[in-house]
């Protein structure tokens, strides 16, 4: 019961961005999923599930209120369902994807209905009612997010456990294997989307540098980051002279 309430709160806040100083990272499956994992008392399994979901959505950029899939819903619901069903965390992306697609609808509903509160706020602005303006910014959108995200999350965690376990048990092993393969393949999307975003031709060689340093020298991510930072600093200083001195 307590964990269902906590997950409902996490689901509400991951869409209702009270303050980016707090909730900016709740948008991302790695963090919101980790919070779900803590709330459900399965920190390690939940964290791994969240990380697998995160990798799938690594390159998803949300701009101007449009998003190609709802990653808040994917992170929270995908992690919760993985924990509930007792599935291997690598299956988490497969669970998360349908939620992220359904989540597009709840996101659109949220973004559309919130316009009403802005109209109400117009009146308070005209009256110079500062408290009214603040109330309109926070309260109705929070209630709306609770209805759209919090209540479904509560129902899933409170009543979905048995159903999820039974559903998972009824999936034959060869399909579990197939879904695991899909889960292993999904990070390719997140990585490729980032390549689309930052993979400009003149610096693309660094992508391969990272790849070969890993496969041949077996460096871990931290080590790669250190060398990448050094490479970045070198590039910065070796190119600044060209421009300033016109060489």
């Amino acid at each position: 019961m307590l964990s269902a309430i906590l997950v409902a709160i996490i689901a509400t806040l991951s869409t209702w961005w009270v303050s980016h100083a707090i909730t900016r990272t709740w948008l991302y499956p790695l963090w919101s999923g980790f919070l779900v994992a803590l709330a459900m008392g399965e920190p390690i399994i939940g964290m791994k599930a969240a990380a697998y979901i995160q990798l799938t959505y690594l390159g998803w950029i949300t701009a101007g209120g449009t998003m190609p899939g709802n990653l808040m819903v994917a992170g929270v619901f995908g992690t919760a369902l993985t924990i509930l069903s007792g599935a291997d965390p690598i299956l988490a992306p497969t669970f998360a994807v349908p939620f992220s697609l359904l989540g597009i609808l709840t996101w659109q509903a949220y973004m559309t209905l919130n316009s009403f509160w802005v109209h109400k706020a117009d009146k308070y602005v005209a009256e110079g009612n500062l408290t009214g303006i603040r109330m309109m910014n926070w309260i109705p959108s929070g209630v709306l997010s609770f209805v759209l995200n919090g209540i479904p999350a509560f129902i899933l965690v409170r009543f979905g456990g048995d159903y999820a376990t039974r559903a998972l048990a009824s999936i034959p092993q060869y399909l579990i294997n197939a879904f695991s393969t899909v889960g292993a393949l999904m990070p390719a999307l997140g990585i490729a989307m980032l390549l689309m975003y930052i993979g400009k031709r003149k610096i693309i060689a660094f992508f391969f540098a990272g790849y070969f340093l890993t496969v041949y020298l077996h460096l871990d991510t931290m080590a790669i980051t250190v060398f990448a930072a050094i490479a970045g600093v070198l590039v910065y200083f070796f190119t600044v002279d060209n421009k300033n001195e016109g060489v």
Binding site: W17, V18, S19, A21, R24, L30, P43, A50, A51, W60, G65, G69, I90, L101, Y110, M111, T112, L113, S115, W117, V118, V125, A126, G128, L130, I133, R134, N137, S141, Y174, A178, F179, S180, T181, V182, A184, L185, M186, P187, A188, I191, A192, L194, M196, I198, G199, F206, F207, F208, G210, Y211, F212, L213, T214, V215, T221, I224, A228, V235, V240
Partner: protein
């Protein structure tokens, strides 16, 4: 505006500025399609308006201009806009000729470019690098992964956001023009892109955990295809998968379409025994 005597100058206090900056982080609380961050940025500037104007009517008039369509990146870089707006409001309240149109045309003029730079910095660089490192730790079962992500992300976000807000307030609109013209930001962005690319290159090798279980015997000799591939180029299949998806995206296919393709491809290859995951992953 502008009737006040020079002796009665109203200055914004540090506290007002900090409240305005922090209030801007709630710019997307009532996010909506119609006017996006309009209500949020109106709400954020209340402390500034409260300090500068005493009557309800003056406050209402000052706030009204913020209720127009507004959308930028509000956390890392776009905070420069409310910073500039605060300095312009202060000038207007002290008799300098700054009209509502001046303030709003500046805000709408900057919101696009700042969103472009801000989204690149936050969503294209800071987030993937941190998330990439944190996911590696998390999948190794290390609880430091998500915690590191949360702490580093917030420290970078608040430092950038505060600095940009204060630059905007102190230097006004000249700040941002100089900033953009020098091209420093583009160069810094490029450096971080290099770090990002190396990290995701490493992730392409380790995080796409597919392999092939194909094995057959030729005469007496058993051949394990994965071992053959590994001797050619380790993690060759993951790299091919990433490059193939990149190609699809570059052709303009949507991410949702690619998910469907990956799903069907993965299921079929698994059922046919062409692809699998390593036994211990």
């Amino acid at each position: 505006m502008g009737q006040e005597d020079n002796k009665n100058q109203v200055k914004l206090r540090k506290g007002d500025l900090i409240k305005h900056w922090l209030g801007g982080y709630s710019q997307e609380t009532c996010y909506n399609y119609e006017r996006l961050q309009a209500l949020g940025s109106t709400q954020a500037i209340i402390p500034v308006i409260k300090r500068l104007y005493k009557t309800k009517e003056e406050r209402a008039r000052a706030l009204k201009k913020y209720m127009v369509f507004f959308n930028t990146e509000p956390s890392f870089i776009g905070t420069v806009i409310p910073g500039i707006a605060a300095s312009m409001e202060e000038q207007a309240a002290n008799g300098v000729k700054v009209t509502e149109d001046d303030i709003n045309s500046l805000r709408t003029g900057l919101m696009g470019p700042m969103a472009g730079i801000g989204d690149t910095v936050s969503q294209g660089i800071v987030y993937p690098i941190l998330a990439g490192i944190a996911c590696s730790l998390a999948l190794a079962g290390n609880l430091a992964g998500p915690i590191l992500f949360e702490v580093c992300y917030k420290v970078i976000m608040l430092t950038c956001g505060y600095t940009m807000y204060m630059v905007g307030y102190k230097k006004g609109k000249t700040a941002i023009l100089g900033f953009l013209r020098a091209g420093t930001l583009n160069r810094v962005t490029e450096i971080f892109s290099i770090v990002g690319l190396m990290v995701i290159g490493s992730m392409a090798a380790t995080r796409v955990t597919i392999m092939t279980p194909i094995a057959f015997t030729v005469g007496e000799v058993g051949i394990n295809l994965q071992k053959v591939l590994d001797s050619l180029l380790p993690s060759m299949l993951p790299l091919l998968a990433v490059l193939a998806v990149w190609k699809l995206l570059a052709k303009g296919k949507s991410p949702t379409y690619v998910i469907a393709i990956l799903f069907i491809f993965g299921v079929i290859c698994s059922l046919l025994g062409i692809l699998s995951i390593p036994v211990t992953h």
